[in-house]
């Protein structure tokens, strides 16, 4: 799947790009361990649907 399509499908359901997160993390916080893909996925799922989440319209 091309990068654009993959990012678009993620964005449709509010799942940000893991590679972009990893690049950001390595560039800015190299001293801390980055989340694995699995941890990142769970973290973002919780953020979208957890407390205060559920950004859905009628």
């Amino acid at each position: 799947m091309s990068g654009f399509l993959r990012r678009l499908m993620g964005a449709l359901v509010g799942m940000p790009d893991y590679d972009a997160y990893l690049a950001h993390h390595l560039a800015h916080h190299p001293e801390r361990a980055a989340m694995t893909r699995k941890e990142f996925f769970r973290n973002r799922q919780e953020a979208r649907y957890g407390k205060g989440g559920g950004g859905k319209c009628c």
Binding site: F4, R6, R7, Y18, A20, H24, G55, C58
Partner: protein
């Protein structure tokens, strides 16, 4: 891109097509005229009006850092490609509203609805989304409630938050009601929708443990399961054993939904809510695109008249005349206050450049308006006789094809009992009488369009149930997510208001929050399901009024912000749609409260039932004195709610006027933007 000339040409083409739609009432016109009219007007308004608002009114500056640039974290704040972000924002704003409202509005003919969608979105709806997006983008992506507090004061913020919770309750009830109306007595539909629950659970397990993060992959697997359920559903419905197991009355489905909503809000999100959201979002986007292509290929003629006799009121689908009720019946698609919550949610944190804001904020709302136009086209290409058979309450058309055909033909929309029976058979249902709520009507239209392109008449039943599944799935996802969000709102409110609540365990808090939230929307859902006029008649106007009032609130905030930016010479951009929405919602609210017509006014309806009860008489549909009492009680609750919304919006108006006056007295901008 290309300079202004092609956009001007598109606008002129759109206006020309609109003139044809509005003035040519001889032959049935082709739906493509309406498509061209809306797309042309949208293109020109995007190029000229959105650009004007961005450049002059908000002073957008691509050199100014957005939150995603200033404080990126790879999680919440991520500078995102504008096309990807457009998809994110559109998927978040487009729900059932733009599909249902226009279908209901078609009872007045296709013309009033299409004019309101086109002019409403260009001058009010897209403006609101765009302005709120800009305002939130300049405040670190703060939410609407927080910004109201920052710019208009604590009191206005508190009132707006309470109002938002009540609006959410009404939205959940009315959405659930649409699902009830679509699935009642329909084993095929009920089976496929029920199948999505185990399917989602399996997807949840898969994406939790087997292949985490593979959203596309798990959704594809889910989609295969969904189609299998759809195909298999026909056999289930026809089976002598399984068919009755999936056949439920509206009141049974009402209780199923209430219990389901409560459980869904307490389960871990990865197990049910998230996978359902994936499935429903991709199905929603895919089906919307397919519908657009289908309309272009089929190029159907609009069979509904441009205007029906119901523009003056007295229509069977919903009560009241064109003004003000058309403007609250079509909320989403023309202008929707709920979008202000989305535009101040995740999107402003993801925007990469201020220059992208018109495309995302204004553009995505234009796309939603186009979805509304497609729904209106759908409702208008089916035989008007069928439309009114499906959307009139049983109290008016009876419960047999013969009585319905006679009643609808008497309205002036000729239809035979044979045609009703034939369509019922074609779409594989038990009945199409009084299938109110908009979803079944749209499904019939979509079945016509899709079966024209793929499969012919033999596939009509499949496509009908595909459309029902598509609508029910994403409505139920919204109900899940909304109940969950509402549950946390209640928990927050209780933690502040009730000392000691914070000491309860998480489970107890969750149970109490969920219980209150579900009881609130369940009350209105139950009332709607047992309403003799079909429920939609009562609940949809309250939903429309509250949603448009939220839009007015967002636009008042935008006006106050413009004054505080010392940009008041451009404040008409938000003030004019505010005034229009206030006129529509306050007069509609007033009529719902105090109209003498018991079909329109809650209080006169209560008075009629009280008078009868006092004399010991029963009025249909009540079969006992207890039911009479409950109808009176429901009317009074509805009236109270309507009055509450009116008070909320007037309080926000007062705060906005005070804010604007204070801002005018100041020599310098008083706006509170977050810059560093």
């Amino acid at each position: 891109m290309f300079g202004p000339l092609p956009w001007m040409a598109a606008g002129l083409l759109g206006l020309g097509a609109l003139a044809k739609v509005a003035l040519d009432h001889g032959e049935p016109i082709n739906a493509l005229w309406l498509v061209v009219a809306s797309l042309g007007c949208f293109a020109a308004s995007y190029r000229f009006y959105a650009r004007f608002i961005g450049a002059k009114v908000m002073g957008l500056d691509s050199a100014r850092a957005t939150p995603a640039v200033r404080r990126p974290d790879g999680l919440d704040y991520v500078a995102t490609d504008r096309n990807v972000l457009f998809g994110h924002h559109f998927a978040a704003i487009a729900g059932a509203g733009p599909l249902v409202g226009p279908v209901l509005a078609a009872q007045m003919g296709y013309l009033p609805g299409s004019l309101w969608i086109i002019f409403g979105v260009v001058l009010a709806g897209a403006v609101q989304d765009f302005l709120v997006l800009c305002i939130s983008m300049r405040r670190d992506g703060k939410s609407l409630g927080e910004i109201i507090r920052m710019e208009m004061g604590e009191v206005a913020g508190g009132i707006a938050l309470l109002g938002t919770f009540m609006i959410m309750v009404i939205i959940l009830a009315v959405l659930a009601l649409i699902v009830v109306k679509a699935l009642a007595e329909s084993p095929w539909g009920m089976f496929t929708v029920a199948a999505t629950v185990p399917l989602a659970l399996a997807m949840g397990v898969y994406s939790r443990w087997i292949r985490p993060g593979r959203v596309g992959e798990v959704s594809l697997l889910g989609l295969v399961g969904l189609l299998a359920a759809l195909v298999f559903g026909q056999d289930v419905a026809q089976s002598a054993f399984w068919g009755p197991l999936f056949t439920y009355t509206p009141i049974q489905i009402c209780w199923i939904l209430i219990v389901y909503g409560a459980i869904a809000s307490l389960l871990p999100v990865w197990l049910l809510l998230a996978p359902r959201d994936y499935l429903s979002t991709f199905l929603k986007i895919g089906t919307i695109i397919a519908l657009a292509i289908g309309i272009l290929i089929m190029a159907p003629a609009l069979k509904m008249p441009a205007l029906t006799q119901f523009v003056n009121g007295g229509g069977p689908v919903w009560s009241g005349g064109l003004f003000p009720f058309l403007f609250i019946t079509i909320a989403c698609g023309a202008v929707s206050g709920f979008h202000a919550l989305i535009a101040s949610g995740t999107t402003p944190k993801l925007i990469a450049s201020e220059a992208d804001a018109p495309f995302i904020g204004y553009g995505a709302m234009l796309a939603e308006a186009f979805v509304a136009i497609m729904a209106l086209v759908g409702a208008s290409i089916i035989e008007p006789g069928i439309y009114f058979t499906m959307n009139s309450p049983a109290a008016l058309i009876g419960t047999t094809p013969e009585s319905a055909a006679a009643a609808v033909s008497a309205m002036g929309f000729a239809i035979t009992p044979e045609a009703i029976v034939q369509l019922t058979k074609d779409i594989g249902e038990h009945t199409i009488l009084s299938r109110t709520g908009g979803a079944p009507t749209l499904a019939v239209a979509m079945a016509q369009i899709f079966s024209h392109v793929v499969g012919g008449a033999a596939m009509k039943a499949f496509w009908y149930h595909f459309a029902i599944l598509f609508e029910a799935l994403f409505i139920l996802t919204a109900v899940d997510a909304g109940t969950r969000a509402g549950r946390f709102m209640v928990q927050d409110l209780l933690a502040r208001a009730v000392p000691g609540f914070a000491r309860f365990g998480g489970m107890a808090q969750g149970l109490i929050g969920t219980g209150i939230c579900v009881a609130a929307w369940g009350f209105f859902l139950h009332q709607g399901v047992t309403d003799p006029l079909g429920g939609v008649n009562t609940l949809w106007p309250v939903f429309g009024i509250s949603n448009q009032m939220l839009a007015a609130t967002a636009l008042m905030l935008a006006t106050a912000v413009l004054f505080r930016m010392k940009q008041q010479r451009y404040a008409w951009v938000s003030a004019l749609p505010t005034v229009w929405l206030l006129i529509c919602t306050l007069s509609a609210g007033w009529l719902k409260l105090f109209s003498d017509d018991p079909k329109v006014g809650f209080l006169s309806h209560a008075a009629k039932f009280s008078a009868a009860a006092a004399q010991g008489k029963l009025l249909a549909p009540a079969k006992s004195m207890a039911q009479m009492e409950r109808i009176i009680f429901n009317d009074r609750v509805d009236a109270l709610l309507c009055g509450f919304f009116m008070v909320v919006v007037l309080a926000v108006l007062a705060a906005a006027v005070r804010t604007c006056l204070a801002a005018m007295r100041s020599e310098v901008p008083t706006v509170r933007e977050v810059t560093a």
